[in-house]
Amino acid sequence: MAEKFDSLEEQLEKFVENIRQLGIIVSDFQPSSQAGLNQKLNFMVTGLQDIDKCRQQLHDISVPLEVFEYIDQGRNPQLYTKECLERALAKNEQVKGKIDTMKFAITFLNAVENPLGHPGTDSLSVGILSCISCFYSCL
């Protein structure tokens, strides 16, 4: 899979270098540079053809649109990856906290005994159990 990206990266680098050289020629144009300019223009077309060929190998790759917002703002797209990982970790910790709290509540209620000898028959236990059921329904 990395080979597909390597070939595309190579083609893009060549294309960008060709465009840069084209810009240098154009910045201070001389009549003798016309042949070189024509050659660079044709290299530009062939470069686009080569990049188009690479597209077929990458038809299954999806890029999130939010990355484009980072690039349009002039920001490093690796920051998007970083923020995704941080958000995933934070959500993971949040859900783990909920699960651990519910497990503790269940084990606590199982251990509670009311004066009548029936487990969980007092009003407090019933109220807590109704909250647990609401939590499960929200999941």
């Binding site: 680098e13 960008v16 840069r20 050289q21 810009g23 240098i24 154009v26 910045s27 201070d28 144009f29 001389q30 009549p31 016309q34 300019l37 024509n38 223009l41 044709n42 077309v45 062939t46 686009l48 053809q49 188009d52 484009f68 917002e69 690039i71 349009d72 703002q73 002039g74 920001r75 490093n76 797209p77 690796q78 920051l79 990856t81 970083k82 990982l85 941080e86 995933a88 970790l89 959500k91 993971n92 859900v95 783990k96 909920k98 699960i99 651990d100 269940i106 199982n110 029936h118 487990p119 969980g120 028959t121 019933v126 159990l129 109704s130 059921s133 609401c134 499960y136 329904s137 999941l139």
Partner: protein, 250 residues
């Protein structure tokens, strides 16, 4: 009253079924007073249950809700899943290396740090010069499906006037100032517009610069050595000059 007591007993029965654990059967006194499991036809039960009215869709829904238990919002519990939020999903999906790479180290903010070899001012927002990727996706340019080479007649349209570009169009050569590295690598700052140069000359110029710097250093070193040696009494040049002057006087 008896119906309420029967309802409460039903709540307890459903609760125990959900969380497991066998409960002792209710005492006979409780059943005599109507605290039994609430089943119709029980010994010593209260008034018989009322006859059910004709069923409708709403009634069916209510019965389904009632069958789930006394808790209105309670649904069937989800089945046991191996992967839950209680496990560390980053280690589960082998993303530790990626996490340390992106979150352990400081990631630089600018786009030019991610693409250092890309020419031009890429750190500016794309909305300034209408070069945003978003606009490319929302309004793709209308073009043909294939790329055809430019013919000779088409190339006549690319005949340019000789001379330098106006300053307004020279922005492409300006790159953001690069920070000096701590190592002693010689990098020239490109704050001013770079003079136009052909790509073949750039390599030669770099080599020439290196060659020029080395002999310059050697010359400076030699000059310093000469200055030091002139002031020292052991310098043969000083003694020989004095001897020659003394011999001429004689």
């Amino acid at each position: 009253m008896g119906e309420e007591r029967a309802g409460r007993a039903g709540m307890m029965e459903n609760f125990s079924a959900l969380f497991g654990g066998a409960e002792p059967p209710p005492p006979a006194a409780a059943t005599a007073l109507g605290f039994g499991p609430g089943k119709p036809g029980g010994a010593g039960a209260g008034p018989p249950p009322a006859v059910a009215p004709p069923q409708t869709a709403e009634d069916a829904a209510r019965k389904a809700a009632a069958a789930s238990g006394p808790f209105y919002l309670m649904r069937e519990l989800p089945g046991n899943m191996e992967l839950t939020g209680s496990t560390n999903l980053i280690t589960h999906y082998n993303l530790e290396h990626s996490y340390n790479k992106f979150c352990g180290k400081k990631v630089k903010e600018k786009l030019s740090n991610f693409l250092p070899d890309l020419p031009g001012m890429i750190d500016l927002p794309g909305s300034h010069d209408n070069s945003s990727l978003r606009s490319l996706i929302e309004k793709p340019p209308i073009c043909s499906s294939s790329f055809n080479p430019i013919t000779g007649t088409m190339l006549t349209g690319f005949r340019l006037h000789a001379g330098p570009l106006p300053e307004q169009c020279r922005l492409m050569h300006i790159q953001p100032p690069k920070k000096k590295n701590k190592h002693k690598h010689k990098q020239s700052r490109t704050q001013d517009p770079v003079p136009p140069e052909t790509p073949s000359d750039s390599d030669h110029k770099k080599k020439k610069k290196k060659k020029e710097e080395d002999p310059e250093r050697k010359r400076k070193k030699k000059e310093k050595k000469k200055k030091k040696n002139r002031h020292s009494p052991e310098h043969p040049g000083v003694g020989s000059s004095q001897a020659s002057s003394s011999s001429s006087l004689r």
